[in-house]
Symmetry: D2
Subunit: 424 residues, 4 copies
């Protein structure tokens, strides 16, 4: 289904007066409202194709209804999101869950919705029906060269699909690791993985990036072969200039200072992309900003500062993507909340008085440095985000419109109540 | 399949000389070898019916072969374990995964293997096909009384199956909780849960125990309604004398001092049972003793001390059970390793010189207190454990015999390579 | 020194126009601005006497200047804070660091500043010069009855000082615990501690409360004898109706859900008081709201909901106190930031639309429940807090005035640059 | 004081028969007893000069008696340890706590005890009396070049002391970091630190190594500028071939897989040295092997495997040092326990059947891999360690002899009951 433009306009008309009052207030409070709004207009967050269905845990999955049954419907779902918030103009595909039968048609369909193809994702953490060799004991780390080759070949195939669709990056998340002491020779596992990655890297088109994602634990519960940013950095620096580290917020040990990792990777020119979500315990994959919004702000603060220091383009020079699991919420509502949290936080980071902060740092004025950050974080920037949406043709209150327009009910009507999207 | 007695005897004959040498050495080193061996003979650990198949994570499951296809085959598998180690003489059933069609037959079958029915386990963390109401938002905590009643009724049904089989305890593990701030009113969730538990408790036979298991997180990632020992204790003390806390080693926050929790629950007369496994990050459900064997020893040290202080019978007054997931190992081998780790650790705890320890504590002689514990832990007690097995008719080296007798190959031949046991 | 009233007035005059604009905006946005402002006026947070000097770690302490040299100067410092923010009208004394020579005079001095005496704090975690017996191996848990008696007597002495000053509560924080496995018999340590607490409790005046504070670790690094809320609850419930649990935000294991603990303790009528601070790793004792402001909001959300459900008075029915360490900031500035964070967060919690939240919970509408909380948290309530200060005679921008009035420079001039306040 | 040789001999005579029985048993059990004993004879662990006195926390310090009052007495203490266990033949000095007045004399004194000078330690985490500039806001990261220069100069001075004494390595542990978000520009802090380290590195003698130690938190509680192995690796690789990472077991986030870090650093040729201790929560600095002995074994397992793979000499190619704090134990007893734990664990790691392990890994036989490690860990190797001591002229039971010879009492008699050694 599509959301008719008149519905958005009617919704915006209703909300406009209140919005304008709020916008006027915040615009008067901040120095650079117009510049911020423009940056918000430009900023797009990719939606992963697997996040359009209900997520689950090893203990079960409680499906909702109206989940997309194929790639076309996934694109339609993201089209809906993008129509509402004008910040979700990209999809990140997962192979083999989303193999396009006809890439030309799929590309055209996405273009209709104004959606681009962001990073491609390979999958060597599961065995697919008919797969020759098993990944039970890893893929690129595997002691058996034939398994490694299978994983390499799969990644190269994913690149080819990506090329056909207009993507220009590959995210490699390996669940490789071990569940028990002794299971792996850590050194050999690293070296096998490196050699495998090198072969994929060799097949990378010249204008592509490869993102090496790290994760501390799960599904392996003793060691992970790309376990932290240090390991990812080692791989990426050995691979070459097109290889980067990808940071997923939920992939760290307890209490990790993720914002510092982000700053250092940017410093080294090795930060490639981001998987947004939130978590309390592990890779909980909760809605962005739902648990630790200030941590998210501190990360964006480093992103803005570090990218500006390198003259990078916020909107295009890093890969931005959501990677969450929707176990108890309507996936589309969850994604609307996540994108909203990202935009709010990005706006707050843009608000930081960088001169004052730098001066406070130079004076070891810790109190003022904290005040500068809190001043930005405590400011209610929602009207700036809404204005960016308004100017782009989106809805002032995407979630409210999603509900009042009864979109889920229509999706269920179209697709059925028992559909299950591919994914976890 | 069954393991023929002569195979065990032949295996033991081969290993006997070496065993006797080792036994003689350790028996000379420790004061109370005979008493320890007898306690080891008496000690039995229940095997959960769901742990006989390959486990998995939300990212996938890599099945092995020859998994039991029904309750009869599960009992046969435990029969095999018990024939090998003579310490696995009980099964802990899970309803609805193991609903017995004919309880009389099942009871008779188990008796043939020398297996008893330990704690029954209910399941209100998943929706079963045909189930009227969903547990998506909890079961006993649910805002809808009808869902709570369904969960209550299910637990009462589980008790009935247990009565028919000769069990005398019910383990209630609730995954109830929330994924997001605001989702629950914590107080009302507690009170709903308490009222639900009270109704189940009211249906408990007079000679039964109810175990209230707690867990810090997963599958809910913000809050859990029976989240820690304090909460479990609150429920158990409000329920009454037949209600106890059950401790699962993997259900704690990072760095928790589980041995202290065990000691305090014993002090309060509220420790009911144990789920053994091991973990590094969360509820990793790894082989017992594979990650933190000294923590396991410290826990057993408290169990022995605390049970002795109350005049409790080690073998019968608490419920001992394994609760692990076998993602990368043959489940039967994994269980053999787990039981072996438990027996070794129990033996070490029995070795602790309690008088010397108490004297060191009374003198604040921290150095000696540590020496006393380490003296026990560093002693190689494997020959004592093997001797207990030998006297009971088991194998000196259960895992070695399991392999040399090619048991898995025979199970695959009987049951097929693609069978999948019920469970996670 | 004192802050002259005209300086506050001049400061407020300068800031008034901007303030009024902001106030008008937020007052129009929220439903109950006046009621919230009144609650903010009433809310007072006690300042601990030991937090007026520079804090340190085991690695060192880097003193600032102008630290208070005695109790009189400590009261003067809190007087300054209270003049500025009108929310710090109480002091929490620590014995023996702050033994008043003449209680009548001290009481009169505090009254001049409008300061009351909040919970008294005992100290059995350090040895004082001339102390007969050492607390090296604990105080109330100690194996030696004489040491326990010394700790009991000290606490009773603290109560007496408190009575003379008009306090009506005693906070007992015990560092008792152990550094090594085997050091303690957990059960006996618990029982010794309970008996000691019972003796102190017996000396408690009828209108007093006793707060039993828990802490997971530090300075003991293996076990703590009042280690978590469950243990504190056990002590408090065994002691009687005047005994309560005190929650310090930094005293938990990683990832603990503190807001749930708060809700359950309120439900049980056993929450007594609060130590505010913030932390990333352990008991870091950082400025309130500087690391996890949303967690603080969620805690206040439970406090407001839970206290309202019991008809409790927010301002008076729980003990509110800051407990932080100021290692790299001017202590007074740090405290101003902490109190500001508390007031902002309290205001946000008052803003939560409880009817809408309850309805969402009743519908399992997780998305809306989150929206309700975020709506409150994302609202910029600083003008409400400033207005409450203004009405009470405080400064619109306390920190700004503190700086522009050059208060620290004057304190250094009066007291010297090398003074060191008692404390950690 | 010195321990007379005849006392050791008498002690050994008494214990010899039992020892020989145990040795004979274990020698028959393991394949390579002689080779292991020789490696144990060669292995030496340096004792840090600051660990000879009682340690403390920010909450207090409970001194014992007879602590060394100067460098000479510290060397004498280590001489005592070395006489007892023959494995403590090195001291790691801390400047400025241990500035030698006359290096020639000190060197000669140490030689008398058979003690060498291991890594030198600088201190820029505290301000010393008379120090011109403060390290309150860091040292090598400091925004003020003059502070950085002071830190650089201090380190170069430490190198000079080390050269005079015959040391050949410098350990740089920086507490640099921040307590609050915004306090630091992470990138600039890194770059300042790197430039400072480069200047120290430039002053490094050609045969020296520089160890860059990392630590996750404490005394800074928001960020640390050398915070994890990845950051240390970045510094070390940018500095050059003489720079290495130093691993302290207590300096990690919860649940970190330290053995994997060790393996990867060895693989990269960047592991330089080790600080042994144990911990449950943070940098608890407890006795080695007292909390997680299996983790220690897994680390040694990687050390042996990784060093052998590179043809490194176990005894000399890495810097081995204890870094613990003795808050509740006699420091010398604590150190004897720590060294014993290290030797036992090293022996167990040498016992690992590497061929069988490699074969199991090649077969993905996880069960056997675990069995191989546990076989080594469960073996009681204490007689091998004792035999190595016996052959070197040490005591069979160092701790027992230390106590029976009443050494602490004599030290108190000589030095007094109230002495306080320099240190934390």
């Amino acid at each position: 289904m599509e959301l008719e433009k008149y519905k958005i306009e009617a919704h915006n008309d209703d909300a406009l007066q209140t919005h304008n009052r709020r916008l006027a207030f915040v615009a008067a409070e901040v120095e650079n409202a117009e510049a911020i709004i423009q940056k918000l207009v430009d900023f797009q967050v990719a939606i992963p194709s697997w996040a359009l269905g209900t997520g689950g845990t090893r203990f079960g999955r409680f499906s909702g209804g109206g989940e997309p049954r194929n790639l076309e419907e996934k694109i339609a779902d993201i089209g809906l999101l993008h129509a509402l918030n004008k910040s979700s103009g990209a999809i990140s595909l997962h192979i083999p869950w989303d193999i396009p039968e006809n890439t030309t048609n799929i590309k055209a369909l996405a273009a209709q919705y104004g959606i681009q193809f962001d990073a491609m994702n390979s999958n060597t953490f599961q065995d697919q029906p008919g797969q020759e060799l098993s990944y039970k004991f890893g893929s690129m780390q595997h002691v058996d060269k034939a398994v490694r080759q299978q994983a390499i070949d799969h990644n190269i195939e994913v690149i080819k699909y990506g090329q056909a669709l207009g993507s220009n990056s590959l995210t490699v998340w390996l669940s490789d690791g071990s569940c028990f002491p002794g299971q792996l020779n850590f050194r050999k596992a690293f070296q096998n993985t490196l050699e495998s990655l090198q072969q994929v890297y060799a097949a990378l088109p010249a204008d592509w990036k490869m993102f090496v994602e790290y994760k501390a634990f799960e599904p392996n519960f003793y060691s992970t072969t790309v376990g932290d940013w240090g390991q990812s950095y080692l791989y990426a620096s050995k691979l070459g200039d097109q290889a980067y580290t990808l940071v997923d917020l939920g992939h760290h040990l307890p209490n990790a200072n993720i914002e510092q990792i982000v700053a250092l990777l940017l410093m080294e020119g090795k930060l490639g992309g981001f998987h947004f979500n939130d978590s309390k315990y592990g890779d909980d994959d909760l809605t962005v900003g739902s648990i630790k919004p200030y941590q998210l702000f501190l990360i964006f603060n480093e992103l803005v500062e570090g990218m500006d220091a390198k003259g990078m383009n916020h909107a295009t020079d890093l890969g931005w993507m959501i990677d969450a699991s929707h176990n108890v919420k309507d996936p589309l509502e969850d994604l609307l909340q996540s994108v909203e949290a990202i935009m709010i936080t990005y706006a707050q980071a843009l608000l930081v008085d960088r001169k004052k902060l730098a001066a406070a740092q130079a004076d070891n004025d810790v109190v003022t440095a904290q005040e500068v950050l809190q001043q930005a974080f405590r400011t209610d920037v929602r009207a700036l985000v809404a204005e960016a949406r308004l100017r782009s043709g989106g809805a002032l209150q995407p979630l409210a419109l999603y509900r009042s327009a009864d979109i889920r009910a229509q999706l269920i009507k179209q697709r059925g109540a028992k559909t299950v999207a591919t994914g976890l």
